[in-house]
């Protein structure tokens, strides 16, 4: 009974993980892809916890999903701004 439930739980974990990964990869919108990637990272932290690796789960949630996500959101915003400026003067004045 318990084993069957756990197997079901694991199957849901794995299919959702792969689904999130594919969704993040094929998403045409950068912002959306980053958000899906953050969801993927949080879900991966769950998987690590299920594999009894709490250290890795903590690191994945904090660094992989949290800070990595924040950095990529900032990068996506910057890329979108640059694309919309389209060769015009960079609003940030930070053109390298």
């Amino acid at each position: 009974m318990t084993a069957g439930l756990l197997l079901l739980f694991d199957l849901v974990l794995v299919t959702t993980l792969v689904g999130l990964a594919i969704a993040a990869l094929i998403s045409p919108d950068l912002r959306r892809a980053v958000m899906l990637f953050i969801a993927f990272g949080l879900w991966l932290a769950l998987v690590w916890a299920r594999l009894r690796a709490p250290d890795v789960a903590l690191a994945e949630a904090a660094i992989g999903a949290g800070l990595g996500g924040a950095l990529m959101l900032a990068a996506a915003r910057r890329a979108a701004r640059r694309a919309s400026a389209n060769g015009g003067i960079d609003a940030e004045g930070g053109e390298a």
Partner: protein, 226 residues
Amino acid sequence: MKSAGGLVIGAFVLLLAIWLLWVVQTAIDIGAGPRLAEQAFAGLPATGVSNPVTAVLLSYRGYDTLLELAVLLAALLGIWSLGAASPGFQAAGAVLQGMVTLVVPLLILAGGYLLWVGGHAPGGAFQAGALLGAAGVVMRLAGDERAGLPPLAAQRWLVVAGVAVFVLVGIATMGLGAGFLAYPIGWSKWLILAIETAATVAIGTTLAAAYVGGRPWSHADVSGQS
């Protein structure tokens, strides 16, 4: 032309998948043979920490962690070389500001807790540093231009603190004749704690500075030109 390239890539991916399945299958067939876990647990009392993950990261394989810190430092140097940081966000409204004053001290407290608890339970420098970095990100989002970081001169010291303390400890143990990063048994715990504390501060500073996303020092020049 394009479909031929796609076909080649598809065949390549298929081969890779088959190879991976074969690797997993052989791993399952071999079963849980002699692994390193038992040796890691056997050496645990000598390291002064009771969390095997921390023992592996900072005692058995200190080189790896030292180089990871160096990679973080190199990444931040790369970010700083990309150009000036963008000016921060507009100042937060009352509600967001209230949340920030509540959340940032909690994040710092939780970071300190994770650092200390890493000695005997899941936690450690990277997780604690990530929480400190997250505190910086929250402050930057709430309008603090420098993400709560100190002025540049102090920032530079903080960023290299992890690698510096790590290397200094290594050189000191070498001077004692034990070899690079071979901690004397009685001191092991405190040396590891010192390295982890410095690493936590360095990682937190590096991540927050990475979120600022550019070199912080030419800010006055940039705003003076515009």
